[in-house]
């Protein structure tokens, strides 16, 4: 007689398993790369510019413009950045390498159009600026937004020498351009800036076009419904908001912020220390890159590949333990190096400020900001690892916590008076990092179990 016969059909969705093997590392880079870059640029401009450009008013306007450009472009493209990263990672995993470049071009077109459309009503508010300045501002906004998209793909390429070359070219042109444009006031400076950023953008695109195969010049597949992960969009927005909200609060508060140009604000008391503090993040970022983006990424990949390839359970548990260990090492190393950096700051701080021509009154704020920034690196590492584990829910909560705590605590401490400036930021970072570490450790504890038990059954 015929039994029902069983067919070991695919009960599970292979993609959800194999998806975990995808190198999600780009998430870490993009959430940190552009932002870090922007901070450093601003710093650079601020400090060097001060020495070289005699027209301080123009320089200040330029600085504030560029700061806002960075903030706005990051906030505006943040959601799309993450969603696009995921899209690229998916293509890469599926072996559809020839989809990346066309979709990037498509993304650039979309971003360009949308950004410009957004910029126009904003830019007309600059009553006392020349229309060329307004136009350049809008262009800069577009160029920056597009640059972030290109950087995502470029870092995924891991063609480090080329990336370095592009950046060198870009910032070289920026520098030159600014020098040449300085006599023409903020318009000239902005012109130089736009030139440099465009050079960066186009040279990256050239590198990409050279290195990546493409079936068609432009594609818009990334806009398909099933390719979009809205959760990631929310995360992208919240993350960037969380990082910028303290600055925004200080800028817009009447006590601390001043209107500099058009609708743009700056905070004399807050800006400089925090941007200076971001300089101290470089060692931590280096450790992050090495420990998380390489060591942890490899352990992660080994684990999920083993799951898929039918490794026995003991083997899997060992690999999971190795992943946990590398995560722990990463966090510890970041803590160590940032700790050292903080100590160095404490010693070198006053001298640094004197060299930069900045008043020593900013020192206490600088210290607390440096601490907060160090914690931010830890938070970045934690977020990155959650991205690797594809725990989108956890990341959403973390970034929300970041935003909420930073906003509320900054507001609170601002109200409490100048002695408390900066504490809001630092404490928010502390809270979020701690919460993240706890959640991460719990995730690792049950990772093997959850990897299997959480897989949905597909009939």
């Amino acid at each position: 007689m015929a039994g029902v016969g069983f067919s070991l059909k695919k009960l599970r969705d292979d993609d959800s398993y194999t998806g975990l093997v995808r190198l999600y590392g780009a998430a870490g880079i993009i959430s940190s790369g552009p932002w870090l870059l922007s901070i450093l640029t601003l710093l650079f401009i601020g400090i060097i510019g001060r020495q070289l450009v005699p027209n301080t008013v123009a320089l200040q306007r330029f600085q504030v413009s560029v700061t806002w450009l960075f903030a706005a472009s990051l906030l505006w493209t943040g959601p799309l950045q993450l969603m696009f990263t995921r899209f690229i990672a998916d293509r890469d995993y599926l072996g559809e390498h020839d989809q990346t470049l066309p979709n990037l071009h498509g993304a650039l077109a979309v971003v360009g159009a949308a950004t410009f459309a957004l910029a126009v009503p904003f830019v007309v508010q600059f009553e006392d600026s020349s229309w060329l300045f307004k136009w350049l501002l809008a262009s800069a906004f577009v160029v920056l937004s597009q640059t972030w998209m290109a950087i995502i793909v470029l870092t995924g390429l891991r063609a480090h020498m080329h990336v370095f070359g592009c950046f060198a070219l870009g910032y070289g042109v920026t520098f030159l351009g600014c020098m040449l444009g300085a006599p023409y006031g903020e318009t000239g400076l902005l012109g130089g800036f736009v030139a440099g950023q465009s050079a960066l953008l186009f040279s990256s695109l050239a590198v990409l076009a050279n290195k990546m195969p493409a079936k068609s010049p432009v594609a818009f597949r990334f806009l398909e419904r099933r390719s979009l992960f809205f959760e990631l969009g929310v995360v992208g927005l919240l993350y960037n908001l969380g990082v910028w909200i303290d600055k925004l609060i200080f800028w817009w508060s009447p006590g601390t912020g001043q209107r500099v140009l058009g609708p743009l604000y700056a905070s004399e008391v807050y800006d400089l220390p925090i941007f200076l503090a971001y300089l101290t993040i470089v060692p931590g970022m280096a450790v992050f890159l090495v420990r998380v983006e390489t060591d942890f990424a490899e352990a992660h990949h080994a684990f999920y590949a083993a799951v898929r390839n039918g490794a026995p359970l003991l083997h899997l548990e060992t690999l999971c333990q190795e992943m946990t260990d590398s995560a722990r090492r990463a966090v510890i190393d970041i803590v160590k190096i940032q700790g050292i950096t903080l100590v160095v700051c404490a010693t070198v701080g006053p001298w640094l400020l004197k060299v930069a021509g900045i008043s020593e009154l900013h020192l206490p704020l600088f210290y607390i900001d440096a601490a907060g920034v160090a914690l931010q690196v830890i938070m970045l590492a934690v977020t990155s690892m959650f991205f690797y584990l594809d725990r989108r829910r956890a990341v959403s909560w973390l970034t929300f916590m970041l935003f909420a705590s930073n906003a509320s605590l900054t507001y609170l401490t601002q109200r409490m008076g100048p002695e408390f400036y900066g504490y809001g930021f630092a404490i928010a970072m502390a809270i979020t990092s701690l919460a993240g570490l706890v959640a991460l450790s719990r995730t690792f504890q049950h990772l093997v179990r959850d990897t299997f038990m959480r897989q949905p059954v597909v009939s």
């Binding site: 015929a2 029902v4 069983f6 799951v307 390839n309 039918g310 038990m453 059954v457």
Partner: protein
């Protein structure tokens, strides 16, 4: 409100959706016992594998319900994991019970009876408020602990992902059967026609409703699942994803599935009384697999010789050089060997023909392969696929019936052929030898009703066919033995009588 039937038949992949030997037997029983009311509980695999009901249901069938195991996972979202440690502890004991009762040996201090009682309790509580449900199995941390432990105690070097998903595939239907047992129409007694999933359902129903369970086994379920396992394509494409999945993993998975079917078989044997088989060979197998000897008995299949009398009288005096295979075109019937046999027969007897009388729709891929094989062997014109035919009409035209199956129980086709005066050549599987050569000494004295050869041996089959078709004397002697044997030992009356007694005893309880 569904009327309570006397007997609920638990049918896995047979009657009334599939035509075949077992289905014919079920139909025989139902029509032969008109005073008993039956309800049919059918369990199938995938909806798309079954079409319409193929039999005209007799009047004493009062209820039909159909379930498909592919729906097992539709419930997975419903219900939350709410079981506690206790339920998982009991479930672990159930698994221990199954393990120890299989191995025959038990470590000191293990009370098999207590474990058995506990096992019954766990079965009774599946998908009940106090018991485990599918959601528990899929998401509870304790379920993970059990799976982990089982893997480490078993073959801990085999692929875990395949093990894990095999377990899920196994347990899903069991939970679904528990849900079916919760809602199945009432009956005074239950009769399952196999172990396996239907048997498990029977064990659940027996436990929950405290009504007797009767088991009749045609083929041995676990054996047929072994054959399925051997055929299964997934062997070659394990989830492990590696091209050459390790020998250890493949073997381990195969063993896992076999143990699973053996375990649920044992649960069925535990719950059923009586445990009926068709011939003594299968009865021994049942004892080996854990059936209680005192509950087992043999009731042979039977046919009504009067029905086949016209088939006998319509025969022409000469022996038609036609070799027929009556059976579905499915791998277990090994139609390919039949085709190879015909090829060999034709090279000796060019005028011979081979007829395949059975449906090709159950496994269309296999049917296509058979047709291609016939073409490549160059006998496409001598080999005819006749589809399903009326046996009374077709048997007079056959010279010899040939069954090339790799696994059989007690084929009805042989009995029907005997009644119609057609000798049989069969492979040495199941009860074929008993039917052709005789079982008891007295039966054997009736003579050979055909020939028995080893399976998958086209040459031996061809030799036997040539012998019978060329040597008229031998053919007639086989025919005589066949008719005598079926009249004396395989009477429908005796079978129906025996089952009536079994049912009456069950209904008294």
């Amino acid at each position: 409100m569904t009327k309570e039937a006397d007997i609920a038949l638990l049918l896995e992949g047979t009657y009334p959706y599939v035509r075949g030997g077992v289905s014919s037997w079920v139909h025989q029983i139902i029509t032969g016992l008109p005073l008993i009311t039956f309800s049919l509980i059918f369990v199938g695999g995938r909806r798309t594998d079954y079409g319409e009901i193929r039999y005209e249901l007799p009047k004493n069938v009062v209820h039909v319900e159909t379930h498909y195991l592919e729906d097992a996972w539709k419930q997975s979202k419903a219900g939350r994991a709410r079981a506690g440690e206790n339920q998982f502890l009991q479930s672990a004991q159930l698994h221990d019970f199954l393990k120890y009762s299989a191995e025959g040996k038990r470590p000191g201090g293990v009370d098999l009876d207590a474990l058995g009682k506990n096992a019954d309790r766990v079965l009774g509580l599946l998908e009940r408020p106090d018991g485990l449900c599918l959601a528990d199995y899929l998401s509870h941390p304790l379920a993970w602990e059990q799976i982990r432990k089982a893997h480490l105690e078993g073959d801990d070097q085999a692929s875990f992902v395949d093990y894990f998903w095999s377990l899920r595939l196994m347990h899903g239907p069991l939970f679904q059967l528990a849900r079916i047992a919760n809602s199945a129409a009432p009956a005074r007694a239950y009769h399952t026609i196999s172990t396996g999933y239907a048997g498990f359902l029977g064990a659940l129903l027996q436990r929950r409703r405290q009504r007797p369970l009767i088991l009749t086994e045609h083929g041995i379920y676990t054996k047929e699942r072994r054959i399925d396992l051997n055929q299964a394509d997934w062997f070659e494409q394990l989830h492990a994803g590696r091209e050459d999945a390790s020998l250890g993993t493949t073997t381990a998975l195969r063993e896992l599935w076999i143990r699973f079917f053996e375990s649920i078989g044992r649960l069925t044997y535990r719950a059923a009384d009586p445990i009926i088989s068709l011939y003594d060979g299968n009865r021994s197998r049942q004892l080996q697999d854990g059936a209680d000897a005192q509950r087992t008995r043999v009731i042979v299949n039977g046919i009504d010789p009067k029905r086949f009398a016209p088939a006998f009288t319509q025969r022409s005096p000469q022996v038609p050089k036609v070799i027929g295979l009556i059976g579905r075109v499915v791998p277990i019937k090994d139609v390919k060997t039949f085709i190879r046999t015909i090829r060999q027969v034709i090279s000796v007897l060019p005028e011979a023909e081979g007829w395949i009388i059975g449906g090709s729709d159950e496994d269309p891929v296999y049917a296509q392969e058979c047709e291609a094989l016939a073409r490549s062997l160059g006998i496409a014109d001598k080999l005819k696929f006749l589809g399903h035919q009326n046996v009374i009409e077709i048997l007079p035209k056959l010279g010899v019936l040939m069954l090339t199956s790799i696994s059989e129980a007690q084929p009805l086709a042989i009995l029907e052929a005997f009644a119609a005066g057609v000798p049989c050549i069969a492979t040495d599987v199941g009860a074929c030898r008993e039917q052709i050569e005789g079982g008891t000494a007295e039966d054997r004295s009736l003579g050979l009703a055909g020939r028995v050869v080893p399976f998958a041996d086209a040459e031996a089959l061809a030799r036997a066919a040539v012998e019978l078709l060329s040597d008229t004397e031998t053919w007639h002697s086989c025919q005589a033995s066949a008719r005598k044997r079926v009249a004396q030992h395989y009477s429908q009356e005796a079978m129906l009588d025996a089952y009536l007694k079994v049912y009456q005893r069950a209904l008294e309880v």
